[in-house]
């Protein structure tokens, strides 16, 4: 699992430090959708110009390795647009494993369906080594829906409207003197 989350600083390519990660996305019918490879040499895919496409109702398969040296006493985390997410954890890696693979169900990992372009970064840090990286990810829907037809779009507008109401309440006011009524 940790290897899937080896995704840090904004880069132009799917660049990883000290590790390698292969990502494959599949649509709801388990048909291959896209592939991205992250490695210290720059990798392929996962850039802003060529983001890694992921179907909200599909899955993402990951396969990662840290070379010959394992990362022990590790902690891992994933950020979206540099904002920390609940996807984080830690482990001792007592088995000295250097690779990991698995599958992530996108809809269960992301309870709210917001399609669009995301910057995802992450890291796995251990006793002596660290693996960091980032990629651009395009979350798509099948069939494709334009933003105004989706609920998150209207939620975003509602948040803006709420913010404007709060701003209106925050406008300066005069403290009027209290007059005694006789």
């Amino acid at each position: 699992m940790a290897a899937a989350l080896i995704l840090a600083s904004p880069v132009a390519a799917f660049d990883l430090t000290d590790c390698r990660l292969i990502l494959q996305s599949f649509d709801a019918d388990s048909e291959p959708l896209d592939t991205a490879v992250g490695d210290p040499g720059g990798g392929e895919g996962g850039t802003r110009a060529d983001p890694f496409r992921v179907d909200y109702d599909g899955t993402v398969r990951y396969e990662g390795d840290t070379g010959e040296q394992p990362i022990t006493n590790l902690s891992w985390s994933v950020d979206v647009f540099l904002i920390p997410t609940p996807f984080r954890g830690a482990g001792a890696n007592e088995e000295q494993e250097t690779s990991a693979e698995g599958e992530i169900d996108v809809s269960s990992a992301m309870p709210i369906k917001i399609t669009g372009l995301f910057f995802v970064s992450g890291e796995v840090t251990g006793d002596e080594r660290a693996c960091r990286g980032s990629l651009w990810l395009r979350l798509v829907d099948d069939p494709p829906a334009s933003p105004p037809t989706t609920i998150p779009f209207w939620i975003a507008l509602l948040i803006i409207a709420l913010g404007l109401v709060v701003l209106w309440q925050a406008r300066p006011g005069l403290v009027l003197p209290v007059r005694e009524v006789r």
């Binding site: 600083s9 904004p10 802003r48 647009f81 540099l82 904002i83 917001i114 399609t115 669009g116 372009l117 995301f118 910057f119 970064s121 980032s134 395009r138 933003p147 989706t150 998150p152 779009f153 939620i155 975003a156 507008l157 509602l158 948040i159 803006i160 709420l162 913010g163 404007l164 109401v165 709060v166 701003l167 209106w168 309440q169 925050a170 406008r171 300066p172 006011g173 005069l174 403290v175 009027l176 003197p177």
Partner: protein, 64 residues
């Protein structure tokens, strides 16, 4: 006449506006500040809200 100001409420309102606009940026795949797009949007509108509430002139004194 003393003026009552609410800069932190203004900052909160601005943060909400920035969050909503940041979400729209994501949906429309418009990332003007790269990886910092959401944080920059929230910070910008939060500061704007704070400044608005702190510096905006108060309403004119009502005539009695």
């Amino acid at each position: 006449m003393p003026v009552r100001r609410h800069p932190f409420l203004g900052a909160f309102g601005g943060i909400l506006v920035g969050l909503g606009i940041g979400l729209l940026f994501v949906m429309f795949e418009f990332t003007p500040a790269d990886a910092w797009t959401i944080i920059a949007s929230i910070a910008f509108f939060g500061i704007m809200g704070f400044v608005y509430a702190l510096l905006m002139p108060p309403p004119s004194v009502p005539r009695s």
